[in-house]
Structure formats: C-alpha cells, structure tokens
Point group: C3
C-alpha cells in the first residue's frame, strides 16, 4: 500500500500523467475538499470548479479536462473507472494471508484449493470444493457437493446450500443466502404440502451478491445468475429465475419465480417483478416499479407515483378513486353537447398488462 | 433413492397406474423436454401436447387426461400434489444421520430429543429443548428456554431467541430470525427509550419460514403464527401480529405491529400491511399492495399501478397530479352548461379508508 | 426481578402513588384483561373504561385520569414512558453474566473491556475493541480495527465489518450487517468493475439496529448514523447515507446512496428514498412512500395508492392509464364551448419531482 507515485500509477494503468511523476500517492480521496497525498478524480463537468481548490495531490481527469488541471494529474478516458482500479491498491480488505483457522470445521471429503483462507468457525461440508486463492470469511457455511471457483471472496456468515455451483471471483457479502428452498407448495387436503426443490443455483464468474440477499434453488431446473451480475443487499431471487450477464439490481428488489431477465439490465431499488415474465436485454427499470407483464422492448420503465405532502397525497388518492365519477361527468357533458367521444380501454401509456 | 418402479409408487401413494408397472423411476423431471428414467406430471391442459413428446419414463395425469397418455403414467386427482409427495423420495436433503457435532455448544441444561442432528457450531442455550427427529443445521443459535417440536428442519444459521415456542415439523431456511425485539420505543425527554418486549413468539406445527425472514417477539402478549403457515424469504412480521392457519405470504412483504391476518389468506410479494388491522379469512392480496385499512370481506385486493414505459409513466404522474385541475375544468363546463353533477367523495372502488 | 412494591417503584422512578404502597408488583401486563400481581398503564383515553375491569394490581395513569383509578396506581405525566422504564426491571434478557465463552475466537490483538460477555462461537478480529459492560451474543463476527463502545448489546449472529466505529449502548438484533460493501460499480470494457469502498460506518450512542438490517460502508467518506437513531428490521442503508439524531425508521425501508436524512424524522415501513437527496429535520414519511426529490419542509408526506377490491383496482388502473384521453375529451368540450381552460403542468400536490 505504500510507495506509489503518480508516474508509477500512470505506467501501471497505462495512463498519461501531468505534473511531477515523483508525486507520492498514499491513498485516494474525494475531490472536495480532497486530502494531501491522495489521488482524486473528476468525472462530472459540474465539479470542474473544484480542480483548483482540491487538497488532493493529483486528480484523474478526462482528456477534455486536462487543460483545466492546475496541479498534477492523470488523463483517462473514463476517470471513474481508472479511479476504481487504482483505488483497489489502497483497499486494506483486498489482501489476506492464506490459511485455515483451527476452529473451522472442514469435512475430510471437502477439497480446499491452494492459497485459500478459511476463517474462524467456517463450516465446509462433504465434497464441497473451494477454488484456489479464495477467502471464505468467519462463520460461512458451505453445503455438500457445492463448488466455488477460484478467487472467491465470501466476507463472512454467508450460507451456500448443497450442490450449488459458483463461478470464479465472486464476491459475497455477509448474510447472503444462496440455495435456500424455493417457495413451492401444493395445497393438500389438510393444508399446504412442500414441493421438493430439487434444482440448484448456478452462478457465473465475477458476480457480486449483497448482504442478506437470498437466491432460492430451482424446483427442477436451476436458478441461473450469469457472469458479471451485480446484486445489491436484501434482494430476493426466487426459484428458477434467470438473470442475464452484467445485469445490475439495486437493494430491496424482489423477483418472483421463473422470471427471465436479460443482459445488461439496470433494475432500481425496491422493484417488484412478477413470476414467469420475460424482461429483454438492456431494460432500465426505475426504483419501486411494479412489473406485472413481460417487457419485450429495451428502454426505461416506471410505475410508482412520487411523494407529495400528506394533505395533497390524500386529495390525490380521493381524486384517483373518483375517476369513475369524473369520467361519467364527462360522458354526460358530451351527451348534452352531442359530442361523440373517442373512448377506448387503452391510455397512451398503453400496453401495460 | 434407488429401486423405485411405477407400480411401487402407484401402490405406495394409492394411485392407479397405466403401462408397465415395472418401469423403473429414478427421479423426477419437467414434462418438456423430460428426462429418461424420470417421472413428470401434467397439471395444466395447456401442456397436454407435451405428453407425446416428453422423454419422461412416466407422467402423472388427471383422470380426464388418462386417455391422452401415450406411454406409462399414474392417474391422480391432483397431479401436482401427487408429484410433490413422490418427489420427496428423491430429495437428497430430506435424510440425515442423527448425531451431535463435536463443535456444537450445548448447554448442559438443554434437552435434545432422540434421533436429532445438531450440526457444526450450533449453539443451544440453557433449558432449550429440541424435539425428537429434528435436524438443526450448522451455525444455528437456539435461545434459552426455547422449545422446538419434533421433526424440525432448521437448515443453517437460523436464530431463535429466548423463550420462543415452535411446533412440530417446522422448516426454517438460513438467516431467519425468530424472536427478535419488537420495534417498541417511547419518546423520552432526551430521545427514544426502549419499551421492553416481554412477549415471545408462538409458532404452530408444519410452518415454513423463509431465508432472512424476521418474526419479532411481542411486547406483552406473543406474536402468533398458526399451523401450516408458509412464509417466503425476507418477510417482516412485527410484534404481536397473528397469522391464521395455512396463510401463505410471498417474499419481501412487511406486516406492522398487532395486525391480525385470518386463515387461508394468500398474500403476494412486497405487500405492506399497516399495524392494528384485521384481515379476515380467505383474503387474496396482490403483490405490492398497500393495505392501510382492515379487510373484512373475503376476496382479492390490489392497489399498485402497473409498469409503463418511462416517458408515459412520467406523463401519467403529471396527469394524476393535475387531477384537481381536471376536476375544476369539468365543474366549470358543467356550470357553463347548467348541468348539476352528482359529486361525492367516494369513487366506485369505494370503501378504502 | 422479585420483591418490587408499588411504593418502591414510585420512589425509584419519582412517581406519585395511589392505594396501598405495599402492593407487590411481580410483572407488567396489558390493561385488558390485566394480570393479578402485575402493573399496567393507561395512555389513551379510549381505554379508560378498562380501569374498573382490569385484573392488574395497579395501573400507571396520567394526572387527569387519577380520579378514575378505582384501585392502586402510579401517576405519571407520560404513562407509556414510565411503563417502559419500569418494565425493564422485568426483562429477563437485560441481565447477563460476564465472561468469555471458551469457543469464542478472539484475536490476541483485540481488546475486551471489563464486565463483557462474549458468547459461544463469537469471532473478534485483530485490534477490535469491545467496550466495558457489553454483551456480544453467540455467533457475532466483529471485524478488524472495529471499535464498539460501552454497554453494547449485540444479540447474536451480527456482522460488523472492519474499521467500523460504534458508540455506547447500541442494541443490535440478529442478522444485522454493519459495514458491508457499498454498491459501487464502474462499467468497464468487459462489464462491471468494483469500485473499492474505502470509507466505513460511524454509529453514535444509543442506536438500535433491527434484525437483518444492512448498513453499507462508505465509498470514501463514512456512512453516518447519529445518536439515538432507531432502525427496525430488514432496512437497507446504502453507502454514504447520513441519518440524523433520533430519527426512527420502520421495517423494509431502503435508502439509496449519499442521501442525508435530518433529525427526529419518522419514516414508515417499506419507504423507498432515492440517492443524493436531502430530507430535512422533523419529516414524517408515511409507509410505502416513494421519495424521489429532496424534502426541504418539515411535515408529513405520502405517495402510494391505498388498497381496493381487485375488480375496482383494475378499473382504477385503466382509468389512470386513460387520463390522457380524459384530458383530451375535456379539451375538446372546452373548444366546442369556447371555454379557455387554465392548464398547467403542475397539480395542486405540486412540487413533486
């Protein structure tokens, strides 16, 4: 973590530098107010004014902002991305000493790869396999016959059920549950009976799974999470869902069973998606949207009404509830005037369910 | 798991068979494409066409579909239910070897029934009691004086607080928290003060509780979950709620304090139910509904607006916000025409608070 | 827990008593039906009728209700608050025997204060510090360099990441995750790349954190939770949020990154608040509200439509979707009549987004 210089970073990350290449870089910081000895970045032009004021030792800027650099800096096509990569050098949680904590309970039939850290009180069950270079933090439970690829980072207290398959370099936050029972129940003569969930969960490479997020196992086929998917905290992925490559989902969103979501979608927080739907590639769903039909066209979607002062909100709900009356009043006026109205069932936000 | 035949399953589950009773059945599968050696089921007529194409060795069908069976099969009044019961034979997670893992921490004053599995790193506190034939998986914490009935299946990392009472054959997924503190706070002169939550949680028989679902303990009386209730993942049940028999609740739903929900209700995902309400028996609440009043009539209920393309969604919210103006325009026209409108405060979706 | 009398409680809590000061008080109870030997309270006048019927040994009442007391009682300006404080005497979970369970894994470089309870299978990592008089329950994981103040109560299975700072007397329910990675990702040429989250979480004194609630660490600066904040279960607090003193947030609410919430706010359940907003002090947000703009005026806010029978709900959504048509019909009538309408884009619940 020590000993970085502006010039060293420039050559390591293939960037052009401005100013003294010997400038020591000891960390990263925000642009305003900035921190001496640290590297910052400018991604949005609205913060350009901070370039002259920042206490940062150097700033990563776009080529078009290079002229505005008054001090040292790095030039990058995408300063935020360059920042992200450089900042990883200063992340104290990225490095770990391999080793197996004596309190860990590892089944003799489990396979632990080279250079793996197994933390305190971890449980690795029979025939599970942990890929080389992985870090499985304190209190994780890894089920029977589960395979975890190389370079995994499971922070702590993660649950992975039996027979789950997880790719390489997946990063899982505490409390995540992967491979819980799908919510399948059949109504019998004296109440609900469990429908066994015999499928599993298959997760690709470079997937991030947030804290306390749940991914249920499939009923017969598997629940699928493709390469590069990003899941925030407290998300529910029900049985037999499929999430396409590089789709990102924000916190508190729930997706019901058997829904298929395409690649590169951006799904906001607290969205609810019904079961058995198809969401095509490159769909953007705004926060708190209720999705009850398939979305076959790429583009952005929303549904929720925005906040209002409570007094106005109450009036608004009353007005929405008497829309039938409002429409009848209109019809009555049209009759009086002999106007024929062009009525239909579809509004111009048409097509919903 | 091995050695099943069609005829053996027919007699074991009291079903009529078609075709060769010696047909070996090694597992279960979907109808399409189906899997050789496996048993599938046909519950919806829309999939009847797959009967001739399926690779399955046999299919469970309704009596009315028996004639359409081209291969072997079983006849059941409810094929999905028959499938659920037969599939349990092929569930590798149903069986376990009883025994207490040496890493488990069991208070000398706890009682462990016969044939119980206590997994690695489980903690069972003073005077807790685990019923015969239960499986308490790795990392569970069972509080003091808590009673868990026979045949429990706690997958892993479940938390059960002190003095909780859980019936027989309950199935609890990882990360569930049963008996956390109710959210009771009183405003004192220098901020919130805790109102002790001295009640507990009482759970009936055959209850399923999903991953990371939370059930708070009562303030004075207990939070009650009746027999046969099914709770999906990431559900919040606040203090002093009562959930009636065989009610099923989908993921991400939250129920505020002291609300009483009847029997056999079906509550969708991401529903929010306010506190101190009564929901009668046999109510169906659609996903993402906001329930702010008691529901005293059985039937289905909804509230949320469905998804629309963002451009239309934005127009829609503008139009809803100017409904006051729309109504004023109407009134002004009516005045011009000398029409008296039948106005009221209630629309025809009436009755909501 | 034994040996309390009405007179003893009166003098201990500075309250006036009515009736026999020697009345033994063995617990607390609801007013109706009440429990012999127990103390109850009357806070709402609507329950005054129960004063004569209750089986409680004594009741805490407001001065104005003192005349209505037919039996023994205590007089308090705020009976609920007085009840809360007295009830703590009868809370069996408040007391613990200090000591370190032999199964706990405590790094030699960690500091454990005096009178601390460390439960079974707890993990305390390098250089973490646990304040005097704290109780860290079974299965908690406390990260490196994390500081927890005096008198903490961490029930069980809590996760606290590295370098987190938590004040005094914080009460944390099972499954809470404090200091998980913020959801920061930058789009690179072959998919999402992680933006390191190098900030931490700083939590004040007397904060309550509910079961399975998640608080992410900041990207560069810290996520801040001020003194006296109350967080219910299953809440998401994203990176770099700041929550002001004594703000209370109900279950299932999610707050996106960098949003600043003022002091003494009351935020209902399942609220969704977008990122980079400012919510001023003393704001009340009703349950299930979607907040997509800053709220700069104190007061109450709402947004969601309330429940309706499904048949009416479907009609309502159709009518909302054809509001464009409704408005066009109005305009056409106005034209016919030669009325000029006062149209605008803003309704009277104005100002939203």
């Amino acid at each position: 973590m020590a000993g970085h210089t502006l010039g060293g970073l420039a050559s390591r990350f293939g960037l052009e530098s401005r100013g003294d290449v010997a400038t020591p870089i000891d960390g990263v910081c925000n642009l305003s107010p900035g921190k001496p000895g640290c590297l910052s970045f400018l991604s949005s032009p609205q913060y350009r004014k901070f370039l002259t004021e920042t206490a940062a030792a150097a700033v990563i800027v776009r080529p078009r902002d290079a002229a505005a650099l008054t001090g040292a800096g790095l030039i990058a096509k995408d300063p935020y991305l360059a920042y992200a990569r450089i900042a990883a050098l200063f992340d104290p949680d990225r490095n770990f000493e391999p080793g197996i904590h004596p309190s860990a309970v590892i089944d003799p039939a489990a396979k632990i790869g080279e250079g793996v850290l197994i933390g305190a009180n971890v449980v690795v069950m029979a025939r599970a396999s942990i890929g080389a270079g992985s870090s499985i933090g304190a209190g994780c439970v890894i089920g029977e016959d589960t395979v975890i690829g190389e370079g995994a980072r499971f922070v702590a207290q993660v649950h992975v059920g039996n027979r789950v398959c997880i790719g390489r370099r997946c990063h899982v936050q505490p409390g995540a549950v992967i491979g819980s029972r799908g919510f399948g129940n059949a109504l019998g003569p004296s109440g609900w009976e469990e429908v066994p969930q015999l499928g599993s969960v298959v997760i690709g490479d470079d997937v991030e799974i947030g804290a306390n997020t749940c991914i249920d196992r499939g009923a017969l086929d598997d629940t699928l999470i493709a390469n590069g998917v990003r899941l925030d905290n407290l998300i529910q992925i029900a049985h037999n869902c499929s999430i396409g490559e590089h789709t990102a989902i924000a916190a508190c969103t729930g997706i019901a069973g058997s829904t298929r979501i395409g690649a590169r979608c951006m799904i906001g927080g607290a969205v609810g998606i019904s079961g058995h739907l198809e969401i095509t590639d490159d769909v953007v769903i705004l926060g708190r949207t209720m999705v009850t039909r398939s979305l076959t066209e790429k583009g952005a979607y929303g549904s929720d009404l925005p906040v209002a002062p409570a007094r106005e909100w109450r009036k608004r709900t009353v007005r929405v509830r008497r829309l039938d009356q409002t429409e009848r009043r209109l019809t009555s006026i049209e009759k009086t005037l002999g106007i024929e109205s062009k009525k239909g069932n579809e509004g111009d936000d048409g097509g919903d369910d």
